[in-house]
Amino acid sequence: MATNATVVSAMKPSMPWQPTRGDRARSVIRLLISALLTYGIVALTPLKGKLAYFFVFIALSTFITAVDKFRAGGKKAAQDSFVSALALTAGVIVFLPVASILFTTVSRGVKGFHKTLLTDTMAKASITDPISMGGILHAIVGTIMIVLLASIISVPLSIMTALYLTEIKGRASGFIQFLVQAMSGIPSIVAGIFIYAAILVNTALRGSAIIGALALAILMIPTVTRTSQEVLRLIPNDLREAGLALGATQWKTVATIVLPAARSGLVTAFILGVARIAGETAPLLFTIGAADTLNLNPINGANSALPYYTWRTLTGGTPESMQRAWTAILVLLIVVLALFITARSISRRRTA
């Protein structure tokens, strides 16, 4: 028993727990049997459509795999394989709607692309006119305007709030935290109603870009605040202590050390906030007025925005107006996707 292991052997690493070729062949056979039976079952019953094939196939292959595992390992192996199949199914189920949404939006929306889509407004065309007339310039400009306005209102407020919660941690923090969380649950329609009730209802003011922006700000503030909080929490305390040790006040430390370190994260928070409100419809319904023309005045006169434009064209009822809706939503989707990708690449560069 007293050996001295001085011989060095050059053995190759292996992973004997991985499935063997035999295991893989077995699972392929199971899938084939399931496929055949699926075809048969769907032909014989009143189920139809691609989804029917899909669900029957999943049910059958789950059952067949479980039976196979049962023969090898007993009840617990069968249960384990059943749950694995369920988990995988859930993952696929989540994937399907997104794929469908993207595919539908692109395939339907693209049909409405024409030369003047982005340069023309609906001033001289009605939503039921043929799709080559008019464009969505006013909606795009409107979106840009209200997003800018909402950001100007929200971002400083949000970042200050986030700083208060993470840096100062004053006595009101618990309460403010609760408020931020409560705000993030406000239904978007309620935000719109509130602004309407607060500002428009008994005054001579009418809907305009700034009013819509105020409604959106209510939704943007909690989003940007929460994301900023998370970003600030990730900044290591050593940086703050270093600043204070050098004799700076807390605010100076925050301004010169913490904020620059958190800069890319805060930009991400901002972009996510923009993505959130760029697609909101309900808050604008009562607050923005209904404009078909380009209006660069933020405080006077009705305006438009991409989601709002989509909403209006839907109520047109004709195939042309529906087409406009799809095209507008495709443009909106492209905008949201671009924002999303930008935010991700910034945060990835940060952690790289």
Partner: protein, 294 residues
């Protein structure tokens, strides 16, 4: 500066209470429980009976149905991501979930109406044919288009990202040493999950479900587009009529007179309170679930 959020929230509540208070004063508690909503002009004076009961029931019906379908799917997806998915599938699915969370709700409405509704109508027919002995699946007539069932399906797709994200967060914190202990005792993966992960993460999933519930209760445009909104109290989810508070406000707003619009504001206030309560409870549960679990 940060007292701004305090200010805003208080203002919202105050104004809505204020404006809606008159309606409450006129209608009393019947505002919430009444099932009639009529508004007419009699002798030049606007009068009306306003009761949002049917709409509250509608809100709860489709929101809870969405939770019933969506939470199991989300919890299983969270388990899949944490314990089963290979690295690439995990990255892909996580990206897709984040993307879903960013989609505008009007997009879900459009897709729901044009793509999902025809399929869902077909499923509703099947459900009606084979399961109508269960009361909720019965219907006074076989009219299945634009039903609460379809609305609930659209809501399900919308809340899956939130519930999955919270569930994932909680499951990922399941203590590794207990997971190892279970495996060392000869557990299969499922045995380990049900012994260690699920007891640990169950309350977190509940919190996530409530956050999803809050979102579902407040959804406006998607419901408006998919559901045939009428002031009828309908508990048969396959039958094509229903509504929720948010979409009702939108529908009635355009032609409402002064009195009716105050009633609509009151309805907004009720909705706000409902979602506030649900979200507060949800946040408490999630915070407690993530902190404890030792």
């Amino acid at each position: 500066m940060s007292y701004s959020s305090l200010l805003i929230l208080t203002l919202i509540g105050t104004f809505l209470i204020f404006r809606g208070f008159e309606t409450f004063r006129d209608q009393g508690f019947k505002f919430i429980t009444g099932f009639e909503w009529t508004s007419n002009v009699v002798d030049g004076v606007e009068k009306g009976t306003f009761g949002i009961g049917a709409m509250i029931i509608g809100t709860l019906l489709i929101a809870f149905t969405a939770i019933a379908i969506g939470v199991p799917i989300s919890a299983m997806t969270a388990l899949y991501l944490n314990f089963y998915a290979p690295a690439k599938a995990k990255a892909l699915l996580t990206t897709i979930l984040d993307l879903m969370a960013a989609f505008p709700s009007i997009l879900f409405g459009l897709w729901g109406y044009f793509v999902l509704a025809p399929m869902a109508e077909y499923w509703a027919k099947l459900l009606y044919k084979y399961f109508r002995w269960i009361p909720i699946f019965d219907a006074p007539q076989p009219a299945f288009a634009r039903s609460p069932f379809i609305a609930a399906l659209v809501l399900t797709v919308m809340i899956i990202p939130i519930v999955t994200s919270v569930s994932r967060e909680v499951f990922s914190q399941a203590p590794l040493d207990r997971i190892q202990a279970a495996y060392a005792l000869g557990a299969t993966k499922w045995a380990m999950i049900r012994t260690v992960v699920i007891p640990f993460g169950a309350s977190g999933v509940v919190g996530g479900a409530m956050l999803g519930l809050g979102r579902a209760m407040g959804e406006t445009v998607a419901i408006y587009m998919v559901l045939n909104i009428a002031f009828i109290n309908n508990l048969h989810i396959l039958y094509g009529v229903g509504g929720n508070v948010a979409s009702m406000i939108v529908q009635k707003w355009g032609e409402s007179g002064l009195v009716e619009s105050k009633a609509l504001l009151a309805a907004g206030f009720v909705l706000f309170m409902l979602t506030l309560i649900v979200n507060s409870i949800a946040n408490l549960i999630v915070r407690y679930a993530v902190k404890s679990g030792k």
